[in-house]
Amino acid sequence: MASNVYIKAVKQISAQQPLCEEWLEHPITYTEPYIGSVEPDYKLFFAPNEARRLGKILRRALLVSRQTMKETDIHNPEAIITGTGLGCIENTEFFLKDLVNEGEELLKPTYFMQSTHNTISSLIAIDAKCNGYNTTYSNKGISFECALLDAFLQMNGGKLHSALVGAYDEMTPDYFTLLKRAGYLGKEGLCFAGETSVGMMLVDNSPQTALCRVENVEICYGKPDWEYLKQCLNFESVDAVMTGLNGEAANDGIYNRECAKWFPQKPLLHYKHLFGESYTSPAFAVYASAICLSRQYIPQHLFAKPETAFKDREIKRILCYNSFENRNHSFIILSICGR
């Protein structure tokens, strides 16, 4: 029999207050096009100099991972699975700039050593001494979902009992300029470009202490097979749809069109106004939904249309729907744990 998959804890560092759910009641709003993360006081968590040696994506990843492990008391997860759109892009840039500007003779190894995408997953494994399954997905706007799908399949199939799944992306001023030129960020109406650091512990047991259950994960390339998805994910009984609405006309047009067709009458939620746009920002959809399900409360500001807001009603199932440039699509069903 297939095992159930639960999210036991989630920790985040983002444009909102770090390592907490302050955004529920006191969301920080931004008008700038590019926002770095609100950093926690690393001195409280790291030995002197420990954080400084690491690039910002690595120190965030390490901290949310440690906090997630601490909270769940699972210090040696059977798997560490990471999604990242651009990997350690800051170190990559440092090495690339030296290469382009200084030539090929005087380069130093440090930036190169911490430039590969899997540096993140490896660092977490080295830190926690985890010899288990370890992998990294880097697939544009569905990198996180690919990591989640891997963990889900293995746990569902009984191969894994615990997995630390993470989503990490950092942004630099230069890379923001580049992605603006490429037409991905900084567009008219679009929410700010953000950074993602989300770590979550998946387990196959103890639903009574978990935040929510991961019922299913579906990912597709090209046009989704909507009829199949409707049936397989049971759209009918979804209480709300957590969407990637981000204020940009073309992007929002896709969500509005598809949601009107496939989820008529369902309230649409959004999260990118809080956490920004990044390749792995869909991890915040899962994070915010898991928190709402466990607290049985959706704050007003998460509703895309305030008039659709509801309260004092049980929230059983949330569908996280991500359409990346109408090319990659992911569907994640989260539900309350059977208590």
Binding site: I80, G85, G87, F95, L96, K97, L99, V100, G103, E104, L107, K108, P109, F112, M113, Q114, S115, T116, H117, N118, T119, S121, S122, L123, A125, I126, A128, K129, C130, N131, G132, Y133, N134, T135, T136, Y137, S138, N139, K140, G141, I142, S143, C146, D150, L153, Q154, N156, G157, D174, T177, L178, L179, R181, A182, G183, Y184, C220, Y221, G222, R327
Partner: protein, 396 residues
């Protein structure tokens, strides 16, 4: 649970532009490691395993306009996937086909060429979006237009092996009907220089498992296998090439760019692959080693192999002496070489070997003859950060 079988494959590498070219080179003992021809770098002192085609030649072979926005990684990937798919009816309606591709360098060949344009003007904007790993896989997918799921894995030098591992899991889950899995990676100044700063490149042809080994030769290439269930192959009326019998993934959890002295991650990956395949160490007839030719890897991997196989070590070779280290593509390249060896019943040579390592009890294979028919082959792929993966390919 259904068995995952491999029904076809494709490869471009330093030893040829197809699987049959590669087979010929392997049997003739002809290495593809040569002086640099295509990569523009100051470091022409390092021999490399380049694919012997320019981007323009690859575009012509693929029927792509010369001015199309592509990267070398995606062009090589398209050629290898094309070979892998050549005998498959792609028009079958409703088929769910996944592309799972491993890469780390992605579109870095263009980024390092145009980075100053990226920062200062709009001339090369199209190449900004081809930088990342996902872009590379999507360019390959879009060339064929048949894929319903596209995913990219980036675990450095074990990327393609992990792509094959995930492919098998997806087939067993029943979520897709067919998977094309492997990896592609072109040479770039970025990682040639990166490896050079780590002082692990050899100016001579690499000598895996040799006492005089002094580093690796970088290579490039792309290799993919088509994975499906035994039932699916049966339904299509084809005889699979082999069974993907087992796999293991473990993390060395030791250092970002070095392997642990006792090869713990490698040991665990091989043990898990054997357990997953329900095989004993003595069932393995040949090991296609990761064998990069660096001091660190070959000693660490050698120790791990001794721990798993004890006194009964099967023939071992590192075919990186033919192809160079194709980094993220290596797991795919070596899967294809392993399957060629399995089908043709020969032990690929470990070129350039002359003196055994004093620390190890075994020496690599320098003889293609096999004492018994090959039934099970273990292929190792280890990456930076200790991302270690082992795959087992078996006769049907």
């Amino acid at each position: 649970m259904s068995q995952a079988v491999i029904s076809s494959m494709g490869m471009v590498s330093a030893i040829g532009n197809s699987c049959s070219d590669a087979l010929k080179a392997l049997k003739e003992g002809r290495s593809g490691i040569e002086p640099l021809r295509f990569l523009q770098t100051a470091h022409c002192e390092f021999p490399v395993g380049e694919v012997k085609m320019s981007n323009e030649q690859m575009c012509s072979l693929l029927g792509i306009p010369q001015d199309a926005v592509t990267t070398r990684t995606s062009l090589m990937g398209m050629l290898a996937v094309k070979e892998a798919l050549q005998e498959i009816d792609l028009q079958e309606k409703g088929k769910r086909i996944a592309l799972i591709s491993g890469t780390t360098v992605g579109g870095m060949d263009k980024s390092e060429q145009y980075y100053l344009d990226f920062l200062s003007n709009d001339n090369r904007n199209a190449y900004i979006s081809t930088h990342d790993c996902g872009a590379c896989s999507e360019m390959i997918a879009d060339y064929f237009g048949i894929f319903t799921f596209v995913n990219s894995i980036s675990t450095a030098c074990s990327s393609a092996a992990n792509a094959i591992l995930l492919g098998a899991e997806l087939i067993k889950s029943g979520r897709v009907d067919m998977v094309v899995a492997g990896g592609s990676e072109c040479l770039t100044k970025f990682h040639l220089n990166g490896f050079n700063t780590l002082m692990i490149l050899d100016k001579e042809p690499c000598r895996p498992f040799d006492a005089s080994r002094a580093g690796l030769n970088l290579g490039e290439g792309a290799a993919y296998v088509v994975i499906e269930s035994a039932e699916s192959a049966d339904k299509r009326g084809i005889e699979p090439l082999c069974v993907l019998k087992g796999y293991g993934n473990a993390c060395d959890a030791y250092h970002q760019t070095a392997s642990s002295p006792d090869g713990n991650g490698a040991f665990l990956a091989m043990k898990q692959a054997l357990a997953n395949a329900k095989l004993q160490p003595e069932d393995i007839d040949y090991i296609n080693a990761h064998g990069t030719g660096t001091q660190n890897n070959d000693l660490s991997e050698g120790r791990a192999i001794e721990r798993v196989f004890g006194d009964n070590i099967p023939p071992i070779s590192s075919t990186k002496s033919f192809t160079g280290h194709t980094t993220s593509a290596a797991g795919g390249v070596e899967a294809v070489i392993s399957i060629l060896a399995l089908r043709e019943n020969f032990i690929p040579l470990n070129l350039n070997f002359s003196k055994s390592m004093p620390e190890l009890s075994f020496t690599p294979s320098v003889d293609m003859e096999t004492k018994k028919p090959l039934t099970n082959i273990l292929s190792n792929s280890f990456g930076f950060g200790g991302n270690d993966t082992s795959l087992i390919f078996s006769k049907l």
